[in-house]
């Protein structure tokens, strides 16, 4: 299990390849990446986090995923600091013998990371800055699991 909370950019493809190469006994690899949308007007995204708690919260979520599904491995990378449109904010990857496990575990990780890992996004636009509000649907998504 690899968990990285970092300011530096990462290479989604290289991470996906390294992750898949490490799991030759697994048949299914799912990746999710969250990108800064190049929406009209967004100049950058600023991501704040809670050093210390962040890694712990992510590890707890990843361990829960490993308990619930038959998984070979889990990868979570999440950036903080300033990100430009089009950049990858984060990624998760799951490897499993069967595709359903890989898919469900990746969705579970995303749902929990979204609402339970201490990150906060601020949008920096031409006309000022605004903290991104949490969505009711993100909290509701946890009810699935």
């Amino acid at each position: 299990m690899k968990v990285a909370v970092q300011e530096a950019a990462f290479d989604l493809g290289a991470e996906a390849n390294a992750f898949a190469a490490g799991h030759r006994e697994m048949g299914a690899v799912v990746t999710f990446s969250g990108l800064v949308r190049a929406d009209g007007g967004l100049a950058a995204l600023e991501i704040e986090h809670y050093p210390g708690m962040t890694e712990k919260a992510i590890r707890t979520i990843a361990e829960e995923a490993r308990d619930r599904w038959s998984l070979g491995d889990v990868l979570v990378i999440h950036r903080h600091g300033r990100l430009e449109p089009g950049e990858a904010i984060m990624m998760v990857a799951t490897a499993a013998p069967h595709r359903r496990d890989a898919f469900e575990a990746a969705e579970f990780l995303m749902d929990y990371l979204k609402s339970r890992a201490p990150f906060w996004k601020k949008e920096i636009g031409a006309e000022g800055t605004a903290w991104v509000a949490a969505k009711d649907e993100d909290e509701a998504a946890l009810g699935r699991w």
Binding site: G34, I47, E48, H49, Y50, G52, M53, K56, A57, H78, I89, M90, M110, L113, K114, S115, R116, A117, P118, F119, W120, K121, K122, W131, V132, A133, A134, E139
Partner: protein, 81 residues
Amino acid sequence: MEVLYFAWVRERIGLPRERVETRAATVSDLVAELTAREERYAAAFADLSALRVALDQELAEFDAPLDGVREVAFFPPMTGG
């Protein structure tokens, strides 16, 4: 204890962390103490339903006891991912 603030809570209060000497029994008691201090705290804590709290880096409820807790953090609902 150490009290930490993140995102707009940090911005409203105007600092990321501070040392607070308190005998507050619960998180709610601590919030009441801070609110009584200054307007910027009152502004940050005006709507507790818009806030989350972590005790020693674990999410907790506002009625949780502070006994033995070394680090309290206040922040808005998280928006990672």
